[in-house]
């Protein structure tokens, strides 16, 4: 290409581009008007959402390091945190970092557990603690806790639990598996060492320090499926659970407290959908049996002489949030009612926590037989 042809081509291109651009305005202007209208509505909605959403506090400001247990909620919180769907919820903790209006000393019922027991995603005024009939309830719980931290807290609190009803909530979605892991999402957490070499099971806390640890991330739904399918992992987590329940019961008994285990089923739509997809692809899906978790825990509790309440018999998918997988307002009300019933039975001395006794609660409307399946179907 010679120099003269190039010299006229560049301005010609620019001229043509300008003409083409002007001509394109016939199309661009109406499309632009439409898109700008849609954008204005969306932007206004986003702006309103920002204006009406309270400032939320990150988890690092909500929890603090605690020796042995790893972390605990900060005392004196009165702020908003963000749930997994991005919705804010109001968190209030007392001077010891517990949720509940009465404080540990004045409470009749003390609830231990993970984020469900902590009331994750629930405003303070909607918490199950507030709906437990007339029972005075305090929750000693934190997000990310496994079954190990509650035992450590029971042992640590000792005599302060005297004369109280201890309700230990175990989330079947991950508490069983987490008890074997020395790390929770990178944070050092106490764990059970089963001691299969003959040393016997023990809780390991020597590695628990501030800061993160390089440890493989959890296997989430894969581990859940494996545990529900029997096999090695299943037997390991149940061995750990039995050890922990016995140890927790020893601590409660020594303190003069009664203990009831309450299992929390995995019924929320979001994890159910992930689980359904996994099972649809997995060859071992025919071995999958979620009822195994409650049956095995019930057997463990029976052997230990501890009361057991499977919340699956009292709750359905409608009690769970759609995106975040914790309880919704109706779920907290239902759990509060179960707690209230437990408290009433306990006051009457009819709570069978002795050998062979599952807690004999008034019957609730039974969930649909395929509640676990229908949870996934409810995903938006």
């Amino acid at each position: 290409m010679n120099r003269s042809s190039r010299s006229w081509r560049t301005p010609a291109r620019h001229l043509l581009a300008a003409i083409a651009a002007l001509a394109s305005f016939v199309v661009v202007i109406p499309v632009g008007a439409l898109l700008l209208t849609l954008w204005a509505v969306s932007a206004a909605a986003r702006g309103l959402a920002r204006l009406t959403t309270p400032r939320t506090t990150g988890w690092k400001e909500l929890v603090e390091y605690a020796p042995e247990v790893g972390w605990k909620p900060r005392p004196g919180l009165d702020c908003h945190a963000e749930d997994l769907a991005g919705d804010p919820f109001h968190v209030v903790t007392d001077e010891e970092g517990y949720r509940g209006a009465h404080g540990l000393s004045h409470s009749e019922v003390v609830v231990f557990g993970d984020s469900f027991a902590f009331g994750y995603a629930a405003d303070d005024e909607d918490l199950f603690l507030r709906h437990a009939g007339g029972a005075r309830v305090t929750a000693l719980a934190a997000p990310g806790y496994s079954m190990v931290q509650p035992v450590l807290w029971m042992e640590r609190l000792g005599a302060r639990l005297s004369g109280k009803l201890v309700v230990w909530m175990v989330y079947l979605g991950n508490d069983l598996y987490d008890s074997l892991r020395p790390s929770t999402d990178g944070y050092r957490s106490p764990a059970v060492r089963l001691g299969e070499d003959g040393t016997g099971p023990a809780i390991v806390t020597a590695h628990v320090r501030e800061g993160k640890i390089g440890f493989p991330r959890d296997r989430g739904v894969d581990a859940y499926v494996e545990i529900c399918s029997g096999g090695l992992l299943s037997s390991r987590v149940f061995a750990a659970a039995e050890y922990l329940i016995e140890r927790g019961w020893d601590a409660c008994r020594a303190a003069g407290a009664d203990l009831v285990i309450v299992s929390i089923p995995e019924l929320s739509a979001a994890p159910r959908a992930i689980l359904e997809r996994k099972l649809a692809l997995d060859d071992g899906a025919e071995r999958f049996d979620e009822g195994l978790l409650d049956r095995t825990l019930a057997a463990i509790c029976e052997r230990a002489g501890v009361g057991f309440v499977p919340l699956f018999e009292h709750m359905g998918p409608e009690h769970y949030l759609q995106v975040d997988w914790h309880w919704n307002r109706a779920g907290h009300r239902r759990v509060g009612r179960v707690l209230g019933d437990l408290h009433a039975l306990w006051l009457d001395g009819r709570l069978s926590t002795g050998p062979g006794g599952a807690a004999d609660l008034p019957s609730e409307p039974p969930p649909s037989s395929d509640a676990r399946t229908s949870a996934a179907a409810r995903e938006p």
Binding site: R9, R13, H14, A21, V31, L38, S42, R50, V221, A270
Partner: protein, 184 residues
């Protein structure tokens, strides 16, 4: 940008319902004004009040409206995207066809062959001219700078089309994986 995220937060659902209600009230007012109704603004306010009460009483209605608005934005956005893409191609085609080299036969005396030396494997990306992504200054400044630097100033003609196309970009979806930890 025009399409709202899924799943939404409760505040976003509420905000969308309020804005859509305001829009409906405005349209109602305009209709009553055009029909010569004396209290047209009251009619608009009535529509707004009914919608706000309905949304308050039936949160599911708000969520359905949010989903419907998302679908409307998605459908219209897709169609608008196709039109804008074709418009952009048309501008490029006009410039390339009439003022470029595409339709011109190579002159026999001047070969288009250019010798190239071998690049290090790590350095090899693309030997052709292309706008360099520059996140610090934004896509518009980067594109305009590239046009000026490379002598392709005609790309400025694409700016209105590209700017509108950016409105159609899908918003980031909140990722939920199979891990069910809730600590941090």
């Amino acid at each position: 940008m025009i399409r709202l995220p899924d799943p939404p937060t409760r505040a976003l659902v509420r905000g969308t319902w309020l804005i859509l209600s305001l829009g409906a009230a405005l349209i109602a007012s305009v209709i009553f004004l055009a029909a010569g109704a004396p209290a047209w603004s009251l009619w608009g306010a009535g529509v707004l009040a009914i919608l706000l009460v309905a949304g308050r009483a039936r949160p599911r209605l708000r969520r359905s409206a949010y989903g419907a608005w998302r679908r409307v934005c998605g459908g219209l956005g897709r169609r608008a995207g196709v039109i804008l893409e074709r418009t952009a191609f048309a501008i490029v085609a006009v410039v390339g066809w009439a003022g470029g080299d595409m339709m011109r036969r190579p002159e026999p005396v001047d070969s288009g062959w250019r010798p190239r030396s071998t690049l290090q494997a790590g350095a090899y990306t693309s030997s052709g001219p292309a706008p360099e992504p520059d996140s610090s200054t934004g896509w518009l400044r980067s594109l305009l700078a590239w046009g000026r630097r490379s002598g392709h100033g005609w790309v400025w003609a694409l700016v209105p089309v590209l700017a509108l196309q950016r409105l159609i970009r899908p918003s980031a979806r909140r990722a939920l994986d199979g891990r069910n930890y809730t600590l941090y």
